[in-house]
């Protein structure tokens, strides 16, 4: 950092000004009907009908956005100087037991300068393609969070540089574990699960070409590019 002896830590709440009240532990939070987050009105003005619904539940504001506009909204929340949501806490998904309800993809955003917390949701109706835009270009922390969401739910994050399974092994074919139609103990018998697990090669690794491939993608032959984009694996 600086060698001249001056050091100014980045302090949360720096954009609130000196007279802002100190944060306190929440008490007696109402179930519904609290004050929404101050970002909601500017969001409505900026995006209009893309903001489908705003809920305030247990003191937390949830904004439901049209799935196609999520990237624009989150980009605006990150870049706009009056919002400055610079911290991505979490990316996850929720599937309800009631099969009529849509699958929700949830982003938890924090603004450290303004000390705010906002939940952004996109609801994907049943039968629609399970796809949402990736926010990796806005927050690097979304890398693994989105990969895990894909691994557990099968949701594709369009624009993610490397959407592979993260927690299960890459050839795992039992399904997407956190979906409600996936039974707790899995679909296969225990011996079959063990057999498939032991068939995986513990030394499977990237070949040197794959590691450097991201840099040289355009130079690859067309069929190899096609194989890589469809995610074909050669059984390593």
């Amino acid at each position: 950092m600086s060698n001249d002896g001056s050091f100014a830590p980045v302090v949360a709440g720096s954009a609130l000004g000196a007279g802002a009240p100190a944060p306190v532990s929440p008490r007696n939070v109402a179930h519904r009907g609290g004050d929404p987050n101050q970002s909601v009105e500017p969001m409505r003005q900026q995006f209009g009908a893309a903001v489908r619904r705003v809920d305030v539940v247990w003191g937390e504001t949830t904004v439901v956005i049209d799935p196609a506009r999520v990237h624009d909204v989150i980009r605006w929340l990150h870049d706009d100087t009056s919002q400055r949501y610079d911290y991505l806490s979490d990316v996850t998904a929720v599937e309800f037991r009631d099969l009529e309800q849509p699958i929700e993809v949830v982003w938890h955003l924090r603004s450290l300068p303004y000390r705010r917390f906002l939940r952004v949701k996109a609801q994907i109706d049943r039968g629609a393609a399970l796809e949402v835009p990736s926010v990796w270009d806005i927050y690097k922390g979304a890398d693994w969070l989105e990969r895990e969401c894909y691994d557990m739910f099968g949701i594709r994050f369009v624009g993610h540089p490397d959407l592979r399974r993260l927690l299960m092994w890459e050839q795992y074919n039992e399904g997407f574990p956190l979906r409600k139609d996936f039974p707790l103990r899995g679909r296969f018998s225990r011996s079959e699960q063990l057999r498939q697990a032991l068939a995986a090669n513990p030394e499977a690794r990237y070949s040197k070409d794959e590691l450097s491939i991201a840099d040289a993608f355009e130079d690859l032959p067309a069929d190899m590019r096609r194989r890589l984009t469809t995610g074909e694996r050669t059984g390593e």
Partner: protein, 206 residues
């Protein structure tokens, strides 16, 4: 004896003409082996922390000759599997066991390594004895250091009772080349069945 096909050495028929010198040699070799077991801690989760606490000053594994922990399987004779083993880790555990040279023993520490523990779901192996042969199972979640020490002492008694005349003692387990399982699949399914209400807790299903 769990699922291990290795017979209990106490009940093995040995030749009645076994000379005195062999029994004394056995006693000497076993004494040396049991008091200098070099453990390889295959620690995955919470049990690994209790293993570290057992190795630390208060419960001191060094008293048992086990202060030299081998982190390379090639230099270890005791594999202590401490913690839950998910399916993704199963081939790794198998590979590590196969890299250990004979004589080798295995302690399955904790409920999760022994039977899958509280993790009766899609991700966790329901007992490492379906992957590698286990000699001593130590129950607990996690077992207290005294519990682990009791398991180690039990293993030492087992080692002390080994006979060199028993030819099957140092047999390496041979997995079936197609399935990689060394126990019949039906046995694995049978012992892994849900126990009681391990899926929905309270059988009322509410």
């Amino acid at each position: 004896m769990g699922l291990s096909p290795r017979p209990d050495p106490r009940f093995v028929e040995t030749s009645s003409n076994e000379p005195w010198i062999t029994t004394k040699l056995d006693a000497f070799v076993n004494w040396g082996r049991k008091n200098s077991l070099w453990p390889m801690p295959f620690g995955t989760a919470c049990c690994a922390i209790e293993f570290m606490a057992t190795a630390a000053s208060k419960y001191d594994l060094a008293r048992f000759g086990m202060e030299r922990q081998a982190f390379s399987p090639r230099q270890a004779d005791l594999l202590i599997c401490a913690g839950r083993v998910p399916f993704k880790l199963a081939p790794v555990l198998r590979r590590i066991w196969q890299q250990m040279p004979q004589p080798k023993w295995c302690i399955s520490m904790g409920a999760c390594a022994s039977t899958g523990g509280m993790f009766d779901n899609y991700a966790v192996v329901q007992g490492i004895d379906s992957i590698i042969p286990v000699d001593v199972y130590v129950p607990g979640c996690p077992p207290r250091p005294e519990g682990l020490l009791y398991g180690i002492i039990m293993l030492q008694k087992k080692v002390a009772n080994e006979h060199s005349g028993d030819k099957s003692l140092r047999n390496e387990m041979e997995p079936d080349p197609d399935t990689q399982l060394y126990i019949p699949p039906s046995v694995i399914d049978e012992v892994s069945e849900p126990f009681g209400n391990s899926i929905h807790q309270t059988r009322s299903g509410l």
